[in-house]
Every structure is written in C-alpha cells, then in structure tokens.
Amino acid sequence: MDFNDTPEEAAFRAEARAWLEANAEPLAPGEQPASLEGRFDPEMVRKAQEWQRKKADAGWACITWPKEYGGRGATPIQAVIWSQEEARFKTPPNIFAIGQGMLGPTIMVHGTEEQKRRYLPPMLRGDEIWCQLFSEPAAGSDLAGLRTTAVRDGDDWIINGQKIWTTGAHYSKWGMIVTRTDPNAEKHRGITYFIVDMQSPGIEIRPIKQMNGMSSFNEVFFTDVRVPDRNRIGDVNDGWRCALTTLMNERHAIGGGAGGPEFRDLFRLARTVLWNGKPAIQDAGVRQRLADFYVRAKGLQYTSYRVQTALSRGQTPGPESSIGKLVGAPLRQNMAAFALDLEGAAAALLDRKAPEGALWQLAYLGSPGLRLAGGTDEILRNIIAERVLGLPPEIRVDKGIPFKDVPTGPRP
C-alpha cells in the first residue's frame, strides 16, 4: 500500500507535466481554478476553444478516445493522471465536458460510421460545442416521462416541446435531444434520439436564473424545429437505450461538486473567527463537529484513491465510485451551514465584508443545486440500492400502458 505511481504512470505524468509547463501557467498557491458557473462571455468561449485546439494538436485532448478520432487510446488511469496535472494549471473552464464526456461516447456506441467521422473530430478539437437536451419541466428524475414530440415529415422530423437544465445551449453548435415519437407505445419504447443544430429556426433559448443568482442552465423551446433523419442516433423508438448510454457516462462528467470551499477552509475559519475573544476552535463542541466533517471529507478522498488504484491495476472500479456526489453534495451544504453558525450574526452578510469574502454564504446558496443536478440524492440512493446492492426496483405503475395514459397529475 502506497500512494506512488507505477514506473509507467510516473513516466506518463512527467510527459504530461512537461507539456503543460511548456504551454500553460501554473496556478498560484491557493488560487482557484476557473469555474464553469457564472455568465459566459464570448471571449471566454474563444479562449476555451483555443486551449482545446492546442491540446488537440499535441495529442492531449480526449486522450482515452481512439486515435482515429484524434485521441491517443489512453487508459483510464492515464486520464486521471492527465486531469490531475491539468488541474494544477491555469486553464479556461471546460465547456466541452458534456459533449466529450457524455455525448461523444454515446455517438461512439450508437452512431453510424458516418456520424462518428462527421461529429467526433470537431467535438474533440472544441471547434463544435455540444449541449444535452434531456430534462423537461415535467420530466426530471423521471426522465423517460419526456413529452417533447418529434413527428416524421418526409426525410425530416419536426420537433415541438420544451427542454430544461441545458448547460451551454447558447454557445453550442449541436444538441443531443430525446423526443417522444410514439405516445401510444409504452413509456420507454416510443422515444427517439436526435442530433439537432442549435442554430435551427424555431429554437429559443432562455437562461434560467438560479437561486444563487447564477445562470448555468437554460430553458430551450422548440417550435416546429426541423431535423433531418440522418441526424437520428439509433433506431426510431429505440432512443431510450441510447439515452441510457449517455446517462451512464453522466456520473463521470459531473463530479462531486468540484470548486468551492473544502474542509481546510472550514478549519481555517474555525481557527480565525472569535467567540468571546477566543478562536471558535477552542470550543470543544466546534471540535466535535470538525472531527466528523474531517472524517467524512477524507473518507471521500481516500475512496477516490481506491478508485484510482483499481484503474491503475487495469480493473473496473467497484461500486464505491458511485458515492461521490451523494456524500459530497450534502457534506458541502452541511459544512456551509456549520460555517455560518460559526460566523454568527455575520452569516447574514452576502457582502464583500462578510467573513472570507462570503465564501460560505455562496457555498450555502449553491450547494442545494449540487444535491439536485445530475441526479437528485434520492435518485442516487435508488441507483446504489438497485445497481450496487441488487435491491428490488421500484414498483412501476407507468409500465405496460401507453405513455399517453400514464397519470401526470391528480384527477380533477
């Protein structure tokens, strides 16, 4: 048991670090990496694309992808090492993650050879940015309850409906959309998956303002939007199977809420904030809470070491890889709540004058979103219970009947 690279890993790490040092600037100590959250300006998109192209030219983009699409066929542990190293440098926010992490892999599995050749290389280079059009106002955790329709019209399909929680819709070239193509079929059987040009007429994009004032997501409205049949992924009415591939990759794309304060920040706060003239950390009650937070945060970190170890050994990581967000998101919220307790009355400030520049106020306002985005706590528990522990699935009242007959609200 140790934390060292194997000789091969060490060599790969050195190679990655050498290239990064030659092409990027390291983060200063304590400096936070650029966050995806917040408003996008075109300049930031341009810089992100520039960096992505530079990586692609040198063979450092999507390194696990096959060489024919621009990757280098790297192993999963090499991908981990690369991202560890890249995280030490000042880089633009990664606006390509959804495409490269979820949609590209879906195309690789379900796309035609022509689709792969057309879409994957510019996705890898960042020339074309992608967004995901899955959730709907009435289809969140119950994604297969989607109602956006696609109706065949000659060689095209006509799409109508509304999608929501779409990251980056306004700067994306392409979107991957799931639509209902047969409302008379069972819920999961009448769904078809398309690639849609986000500049098509009939698409309207509205940013969603979150409770923390940020806008990371959009609503996207479709009114008679035309998509050619050649943009279909998989067979007609077989889209749910393709969508599952996308969702399986989502866990990798959405982390445990990277960025934002961590245990060490809480520890620092407890050492600096004063209660009746003494640092709060001198209070034994504060210490009890700190210990529990520490153990939880470290448990999560060491669990990621176990996952890396499996990858390093060429094994598939065990189910422990699925606990990250379920532990991390509530932990962030609870640490923030406790930090605000420590701050006392000053917790009421969302102001530059707040302790630590309102670090914990912002975390408190942002953390509820972490518990919802990319699978709610409740959905994650169901996934762990069913897929990891083999417990029975939920009893379904929406199976075995046509989708249009599935209840969607209380009877009047």
Binding site: Q210, G344, A346
Partner: protein, 371 residues
C-alpha cells in the same frame, strides 16, 4: 391544563392571517428582495395601522396593551409570509428592551413613536464575525460619547435610533443613539436575505444616553435577547410551517413515474419526520411564550429551548423545501430560496446557534445548583 392559545388569541391569528394573505403575499417579499428596497413601507404602514407594532406596549405609551401571547401570534403569522419589514428589530428588540430596562422618561419618549411606526428602532450588538462576549466587546462609551463599529446591524440602514451595546470602563450597558446624527456613519451591506436589510454602523464620539440611565449590565442584554428569541422563534416556526405546507402540496400534485411524488417513501417518511419536528418546535415555542408572558424564572431556559428548536427546524424546512421541489426549487423564480435565505437570516440575527445551546446548558446548571 391550559397550554394553548385562547379562543380570542386564535381569532386574532385568523384575522392576522387573512389580513396578511392580502397585504403580504410572497410576491411582496420577492419584490423587496429583488429591488433591494430595504423594506416594504406599504406593509409597514399597514401593519402600523393595525396597531400590531404596539401590541405589547401598554396603553399609556400609545400601545394596545395586549400581552406577549398576542405578540407571539402575530410573530408566527409574519414568519409565515416572510414579511419584509423591520418588525423584529423595532418590536422584539427595541421596544421590548425599552419596556424592560428603559427609564420612565425613555419609555415616554420612544414607545409612542415605536407603536405608531413613526420611529424604527433596532439593537446593535455584533462586531463582525463570531460572537462578541462581555470580555471582547470593543465599542466604548466615554464621557457620554460612543465610539466603535457594529456589523451587521439588522435594519441599521433604516432605523431612527439604535440601542448599542458598549463598555464603559468595566461596566457594560446599552447606549441609545440617534442614528441621524453626524457622528454616525451608516453603510449598506448586501444581505444574504435581501428582503431583510443589514448595515454597518460606525460611531465616532456619537452622543448617547444609557438605556435605563446607567450601564445596565450584561445580564440585562441576555434577558433582552431571551425575550426576542422567543418572538423570533415564532417567526421561525411560522416560516417552517409555511414551507412545509407549500411542499406537501407540491408533492401531492407533482407526478413522476405515473405517481404523485408524495407516494414515494423517500419523501413520504421525510415529510412525516418534518411534521414531527414542527410539532416539537411548536411545543417548545409555546413554552417560551408561556414563560415570556408570565415573566417566569424559567424564561432563560425556555427561550434557549425555543430558539434552538426553531432554528434547527427552520433550517431543516428550508433545505427540504428545495430538495423536494427538485430542480425547480433551485431556481430564482421559485419561492423556496426566500425561505432558505430567511431561515439563515433569522438564525444569524441573534448570534451563533451553538452559543445558544451552550447557554441553555449553563441555565440548566444554574437551576440545578439553585435547587
């Protein structure tokens, strides 16, 4: 056994509730929050016109001469609608402090204007992050002049006067300061709950007089905070209860997988647990109200109990409200964040929650030693 509000008080509640349903929909809170309007002057005037500001102020000072039970009833209802007004600062803190510790002259000077809402008062105690104990308080009064900085001060931007905690040599007291004088600088601070305004106040040799005519001592501040804690606890209870009602309704009407989401035990059992917390908190609040209205020696313990319970429960409620609403609950447009912010504001307004737990046990020890 008569551990409930009376029929008259319940009637008052109904009246207050239906009045506020009209005058203070959640859109009003949102409006103040979004426009940074400090507070709703229209609601303030409407509430003043109802006589609620003087609920517990004796008639001879222009109040209605009711008791703290009536005030608790109103507080719960104001909590339900997240009322964007300086009711707590001006009534639970300033008016109650004057009633408890003011000289007759001070009462006559301030209370009538507080009852009508002409004047807004507040209490300025905190000096930045953490908790300023008797030992570490920095604001001082010398020769009748106050110097120091208080932050955050609830409604400090809009109040006409403040009771400011300060040391004078070894003594401790509450100094009454006119906030319109030159020696007071006010600075707007962005609030975690912008429907409730906070400010920094800087005093440079501002002329003051002591509440009660002389330094009242630390215990009086604790007593004032205990009284306020009971009333704030009713606001917290009201907020938590309203969040529960909205959420329960939503889970019954929101369908997923062909079923109302309330039918999933993951939510159903948490709603049951949430209900249980509300009932326990309500009981602790009632006990606080009893102790407050009877000026009972149990007040300190009862106030700490009500505050700890209500703070926990409003935090739980505001978290669960968002979580059970799913993604919509995280949007700006949804009302859930109004509750989430208010819960935090009310948790902060009387200092760190752990300090209240600590104090509760101190009170229990004292009681034990006395017995």
């Amino acid at each position: 056994m008569n551990f409930d509000f009376s029929d008259d008080q319940k009637l008052l509640r109904e009246n207050v509730r239906s009045f506020l349903a009209k005058e203070a929909p959640l859109t009003l809170c949102r409006q103040v929050l979004e426009t940074d309007g400090k507070y709703s002057t229209t609601l303030w005037q409407a509430v003043a016109a109802q006589g609620w500001l003087g609920t517990a102020i004796p008639e001879k000072y222009g109040g209605a001469g009711f008791g703290r039970l009536e005030l608790a009833v109103i507080a719960e209802e104001l909590g339900r609608v997240l009322a964007p007004i300086p009711f707590g600062s001006s009534v639970y803190l300033a008016s109650e402090a004057l009633l408890v510790a003011g000289t007759e002259e001070q009462k006559q000077r301030y209370l009538p204007r507080l009852s009508t809402g002409e004047a807004i008062g507040t209490l300025a105690h905190f000096e930045g992050a953490g908790d300023p104990g008797n030992r570490s308080l920095k604001s001082t009064v010398r020769n009748g002049k106050l110097s120091g900085e208080k932050t955050p001060v609830p409604d400090g931007e809009i109040a006409d006067f403040a009771l400011v905690t300060a040391k004078s040599g070894r003594d401790f007291g509450l100094a009454i300061v006119d906030l319109h004088t030159r020696e007071v600088q006010r600075e707007h601070l962005d609030s975690l709950d912008p429907s409730r305004s906070v400010a920094a106040l800087r005093f440079e040799r501002a002329p003051v007089e002591w509440l009660g005519g002389r330094p009242c001592g630390w215990d009086t501040l604790q007593h004032i905070f205990d009284r306020a804690a009971v009333l704030y606890a009713f606001e917290q209870l009201g907020g938590a209860q309203r969040a529960f009602e909205i959420t329960r309704e939503y889970t019954l009407n929101r369908y997923a997988f062909g079923r109302p989401i309330a039918s999933f035990q993951a939510l159903k059992h948490r709603l049951a647990d949430w209900y249980v917390e509300l009932e326990l908190t309500r009981s602790n609040c009632y006990y606080g109200a009893w102790a407050l209205s009877h000026e009972a020696p149990e007040l300190a313990v009862a106030a700490c109990g009500a505050r700890v319970s209500a703070t926990n429960t409003f935090e739980l409620a505001s978290k669960e409200m968002i979580q059970m609403h799913g993604g919509m609950g995280f949007t700006w447009e949804h009302d859930a964040h109004l509750f989430y912010r208010r819960a935090r504001y009310l948790a902060a307004v009387l200092g760190p929650a752990p300090v209240w737990r600590e104090r509760l046990v101190t009170c229990l020890e004292r009681r034990e030693e006395a017995s």
